[in-house]
């Protein structure tokens, strides 16, 4: 996740390292899924460049524009983070002033989108580059700093389009989250957002989106779809993906859906389902390290040293929440590159690739190869982390057969 204050005035380069300008603003869609659609880059000559998001990539020094990037016009339905969110007042239903937007929280995976607004005091300090000294001071004095966060789902997007920030529910007033709960929220918000955006897409498009989602989302989605609709969608995605989704569902539901799958696809799927009698439970290992998402990089590294001394290998660190559900992952390499006082939730990848006890080992292997990961976390029905399966173990097992 990112804060707008950190993105603002970040340098933008082309792929061959030519300086283009600085990030001046972001444009977004004021709806239930507030995707960032364009980056506004201010060139050194003061010209504003509107670049569609898909041409922009973040890296260590700032942002990189793809060499084939195009400039587009700002559309009517696009709204400005700088002028329509940042620094604006949040009003409740009576229109009385409540509080101000101090920063905008943006998540960058799987896609750039706004996840909510920060109304805490830390947001102000972030703008003047004093967030770190301030948190350090507060930490030393044992004062709990408030980085209070209002998720986008609490905000009425129609009002944003009218230049007002209004909270949806009057009863709940400000339902603020603390940073330690933020990561969990992001995960949750994504499911909601995905479901909402699926409604407006055509079948082919939604099948593509669903195929890219992790198992957990897929299961949620197929539980909500009618069997017929579910069958149609599954006919459009790859067989192994479809099988994994089906295996995550209850037997009855699975059989209902299979009826509606297109003939050719059905054959392949039934074959794979047959293979799935060999689940991966016995390949699972407990050589993994879990942390809480609000731990700092330094604390995470210390825990790794303490806990993994007798492990044969370790590639990833997983973040879990209070209920032991997995909420994020990061590689050791990435951890080593980060500053020690960065909280883990700021850097972790929330777009998780997961397997479950019912996942056939062939599918687990395919998935690890597809996403180039060395280790697949295995979760239960409630997304609780049970163990990990390493690429090494699965490959050995399959070759051995």
């Amino acid at each position: 996740m990112l804060y707008f204050s950190e993105l603002y005035k970040e340098k933008v380069f082309t792929q061959d390292k030519q300086y283009v300008g600085k990030v001046d603003d972001l444009l977004f869609l004021a709806n239930e899924t507030p995707l960032i659609t364009k980056f506004v880059v201010k060139t050194s000559s003061g010209r504003l460049l509107y670049v569609p998001r898909q041409f922009v990539k973040k890296n260590g020094i700032g942002f990189i524009l793809r060499s084939d990037y195009e400039e587009k016009e700002k559309k009517e339905a696009e709204y400005s983070v700088l002028y329509q969110l940042q620094d604006q007042q949040i009003v409740d239903i009576d229109g009385a002033k409540v509080i101000r937007v101090n920063d905008v929280v943006i998540h960058d995976a799987p896609d750039f989108a706004i996840s909510g607004i920060d109304i805490g005091f830390l947001g102000i300090f972030r703008w003047i580059g004093l967030a770190k000294p301030f948190s350090w001071l507060a930490h030393t004095l044992k004062i709990h700093t408030t980085s209070d966060f209002i998720p986008w789902s609490e905000i009425d997007p129609q009002e944003v389009a009218k230049n007002r920030i209004v909270l949806k529910s009057e009863q709940e007033k400000l339902k603020k989250l603390h940073p330690e709960d933020l990561a969990e929220h992001l995960e949750h918000a994504n499911i909601q957002n995905v479901l909402r955006s699926l409604k407006v897409m055509d079948e082919e498009m939604s099948a593509r989106v669903i195929a890219d989602l992790n198992v957990d989302y897929q299961r949620e989605i197929f539980r909500r779809f009618s069997p017929q609709h579910a069958g149609e969608i599954l006919s459009l995605i790859e067989a192994d993906e479809a099988v994994d989704v089906l295996l995550s569902l209850e037997n009855e539901r699975r059989e209902e859906i299979v009826k509606f799958i297109e003939k050719d696809k059905k054959k392949a799927i039934l074959h794979l389902l047959h293979l799935a009698k060999t689940p991966i439970g016995h390949l699972m290992s407990t050589e993994y390290v879990t942390v809480s998402s609000n731990m700092t990089v330094k604390e995470v590294l210390e825990r790794i040293k303490k806990e993994s001394a007798d492990f044969s290998e370790l590639e990833y660190v997983y973040a879990i929440n209070k209920d032991e559900q997995i909420v994020g992952v990061e590689t050791l390499h990435e951890l080593l590159l980060q500053k020690p006082d960065t909280p883990f939730y700021r850097i972790m990848n929330q777009n998780l690739i997961l397997g479950r006890l019912t996942t056939p080992k062939e599918i687990a292997l395919r998935r690890m190869i597809k996403y180039s990961i060395y280790c697949l976390p295995i979760v239960d029905e409630n997304r609780k982390l049970l163990g990990v399966v390493s690429l090494q173990n699965v490959a050995e097992d399959l070759v051995g057969e």
């Binding site: 409540v98 005091f121 003047i128």
Partner: protein
């Protein structure tokens, strides 16, 4: 028919009345009264010539502030934060808080002087006054606090009586308003009239009128009345300034009594205007100081909540606006403690406060003119061409005067 509509209009006008009049009258705060007394004693009736010009400048600046508030429904702090971002907001906020704090100290000092003139023990008197001020803004609703402020203004009548008691030369006083005096170009005259301008048109006054007007929720359809109110407020404020100046001009100036500082005016006029006039003059000063204390602290509190977005409005119940009141109270208490402290360099602080206010004023006018000419914010209520030229000229004049005042006071040290 015609008559009825006149009364309807008058009724609406009285409903809108409040923010501008209260703000402009608060311009005659403790610091203001001291400066005006001093000006009258030094220059006599001649200084009155500056008043009509001052009235117009005051009216123009107040009108722009209240127009922005009515059209946008926002205070100056709100608009600056929303248009210019966190960094600029913090910068402007820091200056206004420091400058206001200085002004607050001046007003508490005036309170102390007033108490001494009435032979009251200053410390208990200051404590009681602070409690009174806090009670007014905390536990009374907007409508009520407005009534208290408006009632407080009646005490300015004390200066009218004080002036009458001094049996001034009314004819000369009135002609001085329009006929320039020959000493106008003397250094002393220039410095003093700049000081008069500097204590009347202030950054906090500019800020306060907008916040207070915003709290009142005046509809755009009533904009015309609000404009009228701004000019009426400027007129009323300078109407009383006229009498303060006349009161000291008729006594101290005429009898060539040198005055070291404005605070002693009440004592100095006693031999010429009598016991009663002196008493009224002291009461007037105390009242002016109280109004100044309340309004300046409120401005700081408004600034905090507008810039940083914490609930802040006189309309909110006590619990809801806690930061607002804590801020308000802590400011007054610290100022009072400093004034009571014997070794506190009061005079130096007053000079530097004036300098800060002088720096802040052009900054404020820059934002006000930018905002009021922005079609995106003001819609069709932007300044007209002529009015804009006029307001730009006025604000430049005020700015030059304010900066000149800083230069002079710093050189004189």
């Amino acid at each position: 028919m015609n008559k009825k509509s006149f009364f309807t209009k008058l009724f609406i006008f009285l409903g809108v009345l409040g923010p501008s009049v209260i703000t402009t009258m608060a311009g005659n705060d403790g610091a203001g009264v001291i400066t005006y007394s001093f000006a009258g004693a030094q220059l006599g009736y001649a200084v009155l010539f500056t008043l009509p010009i001052l009235t117009i400048l005051y009216g123009v600046t107040q009108e722009m502030g209240s127009r922005i508030a009515i059209v946008t429904g926002k205070g100056l702090g709100d608009v600056i934060r929303e248009r210019y971002g966190v960094r600029i907001a913090i910068f402007v906020f820091a200056i206004i808080i420091i400058a206001n704090f200085g002004t607050l100290i001046t007003d508490v000092a005036a309170l102390k002087t007033g108490a001494q003139m009435l032979h009251l023990a200053p410390v208990p008197f200051i404590i009681i006054t602070i409690v009174f001020c806090f009670w007014i803004v905390t536990f009374t609703k907007y409508e009520k606090s407005q009534k208290v402020f408006l009632t407080g203004m009646i005490f300015y009548l004390a200066y009218v009586f004080s002036a009458i008691k001094g049996s001034p030369h009314w004819g000369q006083a009135l002609t001085s308003l329009v006929v320039p005096a020959k000493e106008m170009f003397s250094k002393n005259y220039l410095i003093t009239s700049i000081a008069v301008l500097g204590t009347t048109i202030t950054p906090w006054g500019q800020f306060f009128v907008q916040s207070y007007m915003k709290d009142k929720n005046v509809s755009v359809t009533r904009l015309g009345y609000a404009k009228l109110e701004a000019y009426l407020g400027a007129f009323l404020s300078n109407f009383f300034t006229f009498f303060i100046i006349v009161a000291t001009a008729a006594t101290l100036f005429v009898h060539h009594i040198p005055m070291v500082s404005g605070e002693t005016a009440a004592l100095a006029i006693e031999p010429f205007a009598g016991n009663f006039a002196s008493l009224l003059f002291s009461l007037g000063l105390i009242n002016a100081a109280i109004i100044g204390i309340i309004i300046v602290s409120l401005t700081s509190a408004y600034a905090f909540s507008e810039f940083f977005g914490f609930t802040g409005s006189l309309d909110e119940p006590y619990k809801k606006g806690k930061p607002f009141y804590i801020n308000f109270l802590s400011n007054i208490i610290i100022a009072a403690l400093l004034v009571i402290t014997p070794w506190f360099p009061l005079f130096t602080v007053v000079i530097y406060t004036q300098a800060l206010n002088g720096i802040l004023l052009p900054i404020f006018f820059y934002f006000i003119l930018k905002i009021i000419n922005n079609k995106e914010i003001m819609g069709k209520y932007v300044n007209g061409r002529l009015y804009n030229i006029f307001s730009v000229v006025s604000t430049v004049a005020i700015t030059v005067a304010a900066l000149a005042a800083i230069a002079v006071s710093l050189i004189q040290r």
